[in-house]
Amino acid sequence: MATFHPQLELLTEHAAGSLSVAQSACVAAHLNYCAECRHSVVQLQNIGTALFESADPVPVGDVLLNRVLARLDEEAPLHHSSPADQAGSNATPALLQRLMQGDFSDLPWRKVTDALRITRLQTGDPNYEFALYHIKAGGVIPDHGHRGSEMTLILEGGFSDDRGTYHPGDFTYRRQEDEHAPQALADQDCICLAVLDAPLRFTGWKYRWMNPFLRLHAG
């Protein structure tokens, strides 16, 4: 059961369909672990339904009706298998599995520091980078600030920072002004999903030299 959840604002935009693909995928992945937020999203969608039902109808002619009636015998397009019924389980969310097309070990990990490796997944989102971080047990992501926003969801293991200790399913959202240095729990490597709209900015002297090389890879 998750302890850290997306803010109401993010859940609302997710429910209304206005969150960007990458961020929405991260919120959806949290829902996989969290019955409370699933329940909230259902209620938030009910607000959408109420507004939809009470909209002033815009007339639609019979031409359109007949066009649809003529198409009813069409074969429904095959959609790839929809997420399996694994909500509430701790397995990797189906949405991520599809983006990964394999196991964590099959991905092309790129080494950033001795403790940190990163691999990027393609969501098609033009504004947000969607990446998996692999932090060695006990390892630290160097002290950093955020030039934009950073959404994180723990998938395996866990980490702690100044706000608490995060376990699988836990969600954090950091803004520009926040600085932190997440450290993976001592007994297990940590894999988390990170969604960013600007590269991190390392603040410690040891890693500051890397900043000019940190680039955002959206898409």
């Binding site: 959840h5 997306p6 109401l8 604002e9 859940l11 609302t12 935009e13 997710h14 209304a16 369909g17 206005s18 693909v21 929405s24 959806a28 829902l31 019955a35 409370e36 937020c37 699933r38 329940h39 909230s40 259902v42 209620q43 938030l44 969608q45 009910n46 607000i47 959408g48 339904t49 109420a50 507004l51 939809f52 039902e53 009470s54 909209a55 002033d56 109808p57 815009v58 639609v60 359109l64 009706l65 066009r67 649809v68 198409r71 009813l72 069409e74 959609h79 929809s82 997420p83 399996a84 019924d85 694994q86 909500a87 949405l95 599809r98 983006l99 393609q122 969501t123 098609g124 989102d125």
Partner: protein, 199 residues
């Protein structure tokens, strides 16, 4: 806007289950491929879908008609997946309309993603019947309470849901500080008694 929460044609089905005309239509479609039921459903929902498509007026009338077709075709194809115990027919249709619109916006922006909007809905078949019933009740309650919201809150909810705007876009359009928009949305949601985890 019409009065929200106005109940239409609610009756008790022979099975003793409370149902409504639109749920019955969906069941008829699923079980008998009933075109007459589909036509009734179309006449009711197509004008609402078109209103939904055109709100915010970023979509052309041609695309709005395309969306109506796409949504209603999906309604026909997926009627078998509708579960009246879980949601009202209008909730189900709204969800399809919202997903199709999101996908259409992304297509129009030449935005190539391997994910379709419906992939973002977690599969909730494992949910307890009690939780399903609760969700359905909360939907009825929300519809009734919407009518009592102050106009400034309804206006922002309409921007967020009907027009699909982010809080930041709503703030820019209404010429309001982002903080004001966020607190109005939050206030409205609290008044509608939506439960959420505080962070």
């Amino acid at each position: 806007m019409q009065v929200v929460g106005e109940k239409q044609n609610v009756w008790t089905a022979p099975t003793g289950r409370r149902t409504d005309e639109w749920s019955e239509c969906l069941t008829q479609i699923a079980e008998h491929e009933d075109r007459a039921a589909f036509t009734r459903l179309f006449r009711h929902f197509a004008p609402l879908i078109k209103a939904f498509a055109l709100s915010g007026s970023t979509m052309s009338a041609t695309h709005a008609d395309e969306l109506v077709q796409e949504v209603m075709l999906k309604v026909w194809q997926k009627a078998g997946a509708f579960n009246p115990e879980k949601a009202a027919a209008s909730t189900w249709v709204y969800t399809i309309a919202r997903n199709c619109r999101t996908d259409m916006f992304r297509r129009l922006q030449k935005f190539d993603t391997p994910l379709a909007a419906e992939d973002f809905t977690p599969e909730q078949d494992g949910e307890e019947p009690f939780a399903q019933l609760q969700s359905k009740r909360s939907g009825e309650r929300i519809r009734e309470m919407m009518a009592d919201l102050p106009a400034d809150q309804t206006q922002i909810l309409a921007k967020v849901y009907m027009e699909g705007k982010s809080h930041a876009e709503a703030a820019a359009e209404l010429d309001l500080p982002l903080g004001t928009v966020k607190s109005r949305v939050r206030l409205a949601i609290q008044k509608l008694q939506v439960q959420f985890e505080r962070v």
